[in-house]
C-alpha cells in the first residue's frame, strides 16, 4: 500500500457501488467462495445505474485466464435486442449516462425560475452541446409556446411596422451557423476566490450549438428600417420577464445577428426560447433574447434592467462599465478537471474548450506546472468564428502534483489573462466577464481540485 501510494498508483474507490443489502449478500456469498455471484452483483449494480462509481477498471488478466466480460457472453450478445421507434419516437441517452446532467449550484439562487443550470462540460466531447444539456438561464421561468400563435413585430424607426408569423419567418432565406453562447456571469463566483468544485459550476454557463434562422437585417430591411439614423436595436421577449436588451448595430449590419428557430437540427428547446430567439454571436447570453416577440429600431440605447441594474461590470473606482457585452477570449481544460480522480499515473489526453467573442481561436497553450512552462495544443477542426473550439494535448502524469492550465489566443492576437492581470484592472467585484486562466491541481492521490495560483 505504501509503495503503491508513493508511486502514484491510484486507490480504487468502490464506495456506493452496492447498496447495503447487496453488500450483505455479496459478503455471505463471497464467504462461500462464490465469486461468480459477486461478478453478477457488480453487473447488477452497473445496470441499476443510479449511482455511477469512482471505480477504476484496472484491466488485469484475471487468474482464470481471461476477462469474464469476454469469456461469458453477455445477454446482449446472445439475445434479441429492442425494436425501433421506442421512447415515443424520440431517442434518449443510455441509462448509464444518467449522471450527465445539467445542475443547479446549491444556494446560488432562491428561486428556480430566476436561476441557472450549468452544462456538464466535464462529460462532453467535441464542440456541440447536446440541446438537452445546454445551460439554462431563466429570468422569470420558461414556457413552451405554441409556435402557431407566436408573432414577431418589427417597429420603431421603420417605414412600416411589421408583424411576422413563424410560417413567414421560416420561408425567408435561412442560415445555419455554429456559435457559442456564454452567460456574462459565467465563472462569476470565482472572481475573488475559489468557490465551486468542478468545471460544470465554474464554466458551465457556456454552450455551443448550430443555430438556424434568418439574419435580422433581412427582417429590418423588409420593414424599411432607417439603417442610416438607427443606431441601436431593442430586442424584447414574450415571456413574463419580457427581457429587453440593446443590440449592437454593427453586428446586425454585418449580418451576424440572426433570428433563430433551429438548434442542432431541430427546433429550439423551450428552455432555449422556443420558437424564436435572437442569436448575437460573441455577445453575452442575456442579449440572445428568448421567446423573441419584438425588434425596435431606435437612435439611443435603452438602459434595460439587465443593462442598467445587472450585467454591468463594477470597477474598483466605483464606476460601472455599462453595455459591456463582448465575451473576450477564454478557455478551460475540461478533462482532467475539478472533482475528478485520475485512475493511475501514465498517459492522459488533456482536452478542453476555447472561445472568443471576437472571432476565431488562433491557439491554445497548456501548462502542467502552474503557468511556468507552456506547450501548444492541437486545435480540433473545424475552428469557427465565435464558436467553441476543442483542443487536445498529450500528457504523461508522473504521479507528482501538477497544476493544469490552458491559455487561449484569438485571431485578434488577444491572449487570455491570468487572475492577477484581470484583478489588476477590474478588481474582484465585477461579477461579469471573468475570463481568467483556470487552474486545476492534480494531487498525488489523483484527485483534481479547483485552485487559484499566483
Amino acid at each position: 500500500m505504501e509503495q503503491s501510494l508513493s508511486s502514484g498508483r491510484l486507490i480504487k474507490a468502490p464506495e456506493n457501488f452496492l447498496n447495503k443489502d447487496g453488500i450483505k449478500a455479496v459478503f455471505s456469498e463471497a464467504k462461500n467462495g462464490r465469486r461468480d455471484f459477486i461478478r453478477r452483483a457488480f453487473a447488477a449494480a452497473a445496470t441499476g445505474a443510479a449511482v455511477p462509481v469512482a471505480l477504476a477498471q484496472g484491466n488485469p488478466v484475471p487468474t482464470e485466464g481471461g476477462d469474464p466480460n469476454i469469456l461469458n457472453l453477455p445477454a446482449h450478445s446472445v439475445g434479441l435486442g429492442q425494436g425501433v421507434a421506442q421512447n415515443d419516437g424520440y431517442g434518449k441517452p443510455s441509462q448509464y449516462e444518467s449522471g450527465v446532467q445539467r445542475r443547479q449550484s446549491p444556494g446560488l439562487t432562491q428561486t428556480t425560475q430566476a436561476s441557472v443550470s450549468f452544462a456538464p462540460l466535464q462529460s462532453l466531447f467535441g464542440i456541440v452541446t447536446p440541446s438537452g444539456l445546454h445551460f439554462e438561464r431563466h429570468h422569470q421561468g420558461w414556457w413552451d409556446i405554441d409556435p402557431s400563435k407566436h408573432r414577431l413585430m418589427i417597429n420603431g424607426m421603420v417605414k412600416a411596422a411589421k408583424v411576422f408569423t413563424l410560417d413567414e419567418i421560416m420561408r425567408l432565406p435561412a442560415v445555419s451557423r455554429f456559435h457559442f453562447i456564454e452567460c456574462g456571469a459565467n465563472t462569476a463566483v470565482e472572481w475573488g476566490n475559489v468557490a465551486v468544485p468542478t468545471v460544470q459550476y465554474t464554466h458551465g454557463m457556456v454552450s455551443c450549438s448550430e443555430f438556424t434562422g434568418v439574419p435580422l437585417i433581412t427582417l429590418l430591411e423588409l420593414a424599411g428600417a432607417d439603417l442610416k439614423n438607427g443606431k441601436f436595436v431593442l430586442a424584447e421577449g414574450a415571456d413574463g420577464s419580457s427581457m429587453t436588451r440593446t443590440i449592437p448595430m454593427s453586428l446586425i449590419k454585418s449580418g451576424e445577428v440572426f433570428v433563430a428557430y433551429g438548434q442542432n437540427g431541430e427546433m429550439l428547446r423551450p428552455e432555449q426560447g422556443y420558437p424564436l430567439r435572437l442569436i448575437v454571436p460573441g455577445i453575452q447570453g442575456v442579449s440572445w433574447v428568448k421567446y423573441l416577440r419584438r425588434i425596435e429600431m431606435g437612435d439611443m440605447p435603452y438602459a434595460a434592467k439587465d443593462e442598467a441594474i445587472h450585467y454591468m461590470d463594477l470597477l474598483p473606482s466605483g464606476q460601472h462599465r455599462q453595455y459591456s457585452g463582448i465575451q473576450e477570449c477564454k478557455s478551460v481544460v475540461t478533462t482532467p478537471s475539478g472533482g475528478q480522480v485520475l485512475l493511475d499515473k501514465g498517459f492522459y489526453n488533456i482536452t478542453g474548450l476555447a472561445w472568443s467573442g471576437k472571432g476565431k481561436i488562433k491557439k491554445v497553450d497548456v501548462s502542467v506546472d502552474g503557468g511556468r512552462n507552456w506547450r501548444s495544443t492541437r486545435l480540433q477542426g473545424p475552428v469557427m468564428s465565435k464558436a467553441l473550439t476543442r483542443f487536445n494535448i498529450d500528457w504523461v502524469w508522473d504521479g507528482k502534483p501538477a497544476i493544469i492550465q490552458s491559455r487561449a489566443t484569438d485571431e485578434t492576437g488577444f491572449v487570455q489573462p491570468n487572475y492577477k492581470q484581470l484583478r489588476a484592472v477590474r478588481g474582484t467585484r465585477s461579477i461579469y466577464h471573468n475570463n481568467a486562466i483556470q487552474s486545476w491541481l492534480v494531487q498525488e492521490n489523483g484527485e483534481v481540485k479547483n485552485v487559484q495560483v499566483s
Binding site: M153, S242, P336, V451
Partner: protein, 313 residues
C-alpha cells in the same frame, strides 16, 4: 463589417447558379404585414432613458405603500431591503450621493450588498421593468398609475423623494436629476462592438503568450476548504461511469498524504475516526489487504466498503 453580409449573399447566389436575377432582401414580397395601431400599443411598452414611451399617469407614496405591501413586500421586504429572494432594492445610499451622483458605498469593498438604487443610473429603467415584469408571478398586471405609485414608494424609502411626493410623467424628470448613481456609468471600454459609445477596441488586459520559464514557482492562493467537499453533492455521481477520470466520492473525506488506509483491526477497535498510521489504535493495512485491494479482483471479503478501510467508526 458590411462586406460579410454581401459575401453571404453572393455565396447564396453561387449556390443558385443558373438563377439569372439577383434576389436581394428587398425583392422578398408577400411576407409580413403591417402592424396595426392596437397591436403596437399592446406590445410597444419600452421606456427609454429620455422617457420616450412613458405613458402619462401618476401615483403617490402612500398609494404605492399599499400596493407594495400587498404585491411586493413578500419577496422584497417591507422596505425593499430583503435579500431573501432577490437582491435588495433599497439601502446603501447616503445623502451626499444624491448630490454627487456617485454612490460612495460602491467603492467600499467590505460593503455587504449592492442594492438596485445603489447601482441604477436611470429611473426609466425601474419604471420600464416594474411595468413589464412585476409582480414576479403576475407580470404586466399593474395599471400605469400603480406603476407610478410603486415607484414613488420605492423612491421615498430610498430617501430620494419626500413622503408627500407624487410621481408622474413630468416629476419623474426631476427624480432623474436626483438619482444617487446617475453619474456612475462608463461606456468607453472594449466590450461593446461598434463605435456608438465612443469606446475603445483595446482590451484592458494584455497577457503575452510566454512559453518557457514564465513565472516563478506557482503559489496556491485559493482552494475549497475541506468542509465544502460535498457542498455540491457527490461528484462521483456527476461524472460518467467510464472515462479517463472518474468523479471523486465527496461523501467521504479524501485520503491525505501521510494518512494511510487502516486495516480492519482499527475499524473494530473504534478508537479513532480517521486513522493516521502509527497512531494508537490504528494499524497500517496488512500486505495481504493491500495486494487484494490493488489486484482489481473482488475486494469485499473483509471490508464492506472503501470507506471502512480508512475510517474508524
Amino acid at each position: 463589417m458590411f462586406r460579410f453580409r454581401k459575401a453571404v449573399i453572393s455565396l447564396a447566389l453561387l449556390a443558385l447558379a443558373g438563377v439569372a436575377t439577383a434576389q436581394s432582401a428587398a425583392k422578398i414580397s408577400g411576407l409580413g404585414r403591417d402592424a396595426t395601431p392596437k397591436e403596437l400599443a399592446a406590445w410597444d411598452i419600452d421606456v427609454r432613458p429620455d422617457f420616450k414611451g412613458l405613458p402619462a399617469g401618476s401615483g403617490t407614496v402612500t398609494q404605492g405603500q399599499d400596493i407594495w405591501e400587498g404585491k411586493c413586500a413578500s419577496c422584497h421586504g417591507f422596505f425593499g431591503e430583503s435579500g431573501e429572494v432577490f437582491s435588495p432594492i433599497i439601502g446603501g445610499v447616503q445623502p451626499k450621493d444624491l448630490e454627487s451622483g456617485h454612490v460612495a458605498n460602491l467603492t467600499t469593498p467590505g460593503y455587504p450588498g449592492r442594492t438596485t438604487f445603489m447601482k441604477v443610473a436611470t429611473i426609466s429603467t425601474v419604471w420600464d421593468f416594474v411595468n413589464r415584469a412585476m409582480p414576479w408571478n403576475a407580470p404586466k398586471t399593474l395599471k400605469t398609475d400603480e406603476v407610478y405609485a410603486v415607484l414613488a414608494f420605492m423612491l421615498n424609502i430610498a430617501t430620494i423623494v419626500p413622503d408627500d411626493f407624487t410621481l408622474n410623467e413630468k416629476t419623474i424628470r426631476d427624480v432623474q436629476k436626483r438619482m444617487p448613481n446617475r453619474n456612475g456609468m462608463m461606456t468607453d471600454h472594449a466590450l461593446w462592438p461598434g463605435k456608438e459609445f465612443g469606446g475603445t477596441k483595446l482590451p484592458d488586459t494584455r497577457n503575452v503568450a510566454c512559453m518557457k520559464d514564465c513565472t516563478p514557482e506557482p503559489k496556491l492562493d485559493s482552494f475549497l476548504p475541506d468542509f465544502a467537499r460535498n457542498a455540491h453533492g457527490n461528484l462521483a455521481e456527476q461524472n460518467r461511469l467510464v472515462g479517463a477520470q472518474h468523479g471523486a466520492d465527496t461523501t467521504q473525506p479524501e485520503l491525505k498524504s501521510g494518512e494511510k488506509a487502516c486495516g480492519p483491526q482499527a475499524v473494530r477497535g473504534g478508537t479513532c475516526r480517521w486513522c493516521r498510521c502509527g497512531q494508537a489504535g490504528c494499524q497500517k493495512s496488512s500486505g495481504l489487504a493491500a495486494k487484494k485491494w490493488l489486484s482489481g479482483v473482488p475486494r469485499y471479503e473483509q471490508q464492506n466498503s472503501w470507506a471502512s478501510l480508512h475510517r474508524c467508526s
